[in-house]
Amino acid sequence: MDRRPTVETRPPVLIEAIVRLSIPACRREHVIGDLWERYRTPGSFLLDAIRTVPFIVVSQVRRTSMIGSVLIHTFALVVGFAAGAGNFNSAIAPVTAAVVGFVLRDAYKSTVSLTARQVLRDHVVVAGFVAASQIVVALVSPDLLLSFRALVGGTVSFGLTFFLRLQNPGIGSPQPRQAFAQAPASLDALVTEVRMHERLGQRAIRIEMGAGIVVAAFFLIPSANATNWAVRVGWILASAYGLYVAAVVSRHRPRRMPDGLGFTASLEFYRATLERQHRTIRTMWLWYLMPFTPAIAFIMFGGMLVATERGRPLWPGVVFVAVMAGIGLLVHRGSQDMARKLRLRIDTLASAQEQAQ
């Protein structure tokens, strides 16, 4: 009987399974392969994995989570949880858990969330993070557990992030420059890209119009209960702004590309569509952000009048304006980034069109 010791040439199944699960889905295949190739002993495999995986996770997070979108998510969650709870302290744990949940979910998921079901699934995973945070809070500091009102506020926040992500599928998905700089290989690939662009564009505009109408109706409530004329004018302007946005975006619906066009004609049509979209996005600060400033100015002015009359400090108004300016800046940066990607796609299509001719 052969009693020679056997030499393991592969890592133990359990260790390999743990390492595989810790690697983001889109990197799993080649990273595990590389770690296999370097395998010597179970210990060295584990050490190699410990020295490798954190870099991969951080790199993937950098690719999937833009600082602007993380801050906008944080703002929406803080507003919902803190307003519902009535205090900021009990909102810290669920908001932190939810933000970490979104960031990790985006890094680890295997596909881009395009459909409502996929976006909903992301939110269910993140809700799991919030639930886990509440278990920890219940054990450590039960007085900071979320109340029913805070849960309702949090659910409203999740509704906001749901529509934000449904409207912008780019949030949380890696978009390497390579994807924008690759010319469509065939007519079928081009038509598929155009139809997808049309479908997502139509949906984004429907959501924006819906949001505009809801905002217009919602802002009528504070305008009815306003403490002075300036605040009332501010909220009425904010309400009118919602309707204005709904009206403007309805004019920017992408036109459907006619069926049966050839490769060059389809490229031409698609390029013209992207050019129009590029102009709209590049000038968002002018038609989307600036018209909101009169409303903010009136609300701020009215708030300062009330504060002066009642002898209250003015700093909350300054914080309010700073937060609004911060959100405006994030939206502006996001739109400029989107415009740059569109420009790269347009240039790629232009060179493909030249080659086809």
Partner: protein, 125 residues
């Protein structure tokens, strides 16, 4: 004219490794080549992956998955290749490094490259 993409020192080393390996450039071989370049220092495989991701996002390298191979447990390799932009950035950075080398050689003397541990700083306190 647009300025060429700026790259850091480690990105420079990784780009050089990808170019040197040509068709054989994937995670394990790039890591080995990088360690050969920066010896006696070492670097983790993860740091090489993170840098390759950054270079790919900048449009300096391109990657694709190859067919699975049995010696890797049936897993694919992610191969890397320099894009023209990447090669240009590598050349620009290397030229800048060469200019620095030429200037320092004038101060330290020609034997600075071969002196090894015998080398002594010019400015001794």
């Amino acid at each position: 004219m647009a300025l060429p993409e700026s790259i850091g020192q480690f990105e420079h080393v990784v780009l050089a490794a990808v170019l040197a390996l040509d068709e054989a450039a994937y995670g394990v071989t790039i890591h080995a080549k990088v360690e050969e370049f920066i010896a006696p220092r070492t670097v983790s495989l993860g740091a090489v992956y993170a840098t390759l991701d950054r270079l790919e996002d900048k449009g300096l390298v391109r990657s694709w998955l190859s067919d699975p191979t049995p010696e890797r447990g049936g897993r694919s390799k992610r191969h890397y290749r320099l894009e023209p932009h990447g090669e240009r950035a590598l050349r620009d950075t290397t030229l800048a490094a060469k200019r620095i080398c030429d200037n320092l050689e004038r101060i330290w003397g020609e034997d600075v490259w071969t002196a090894g541990p015998r080398w002594k700083p010019v400015r001794q306190s």
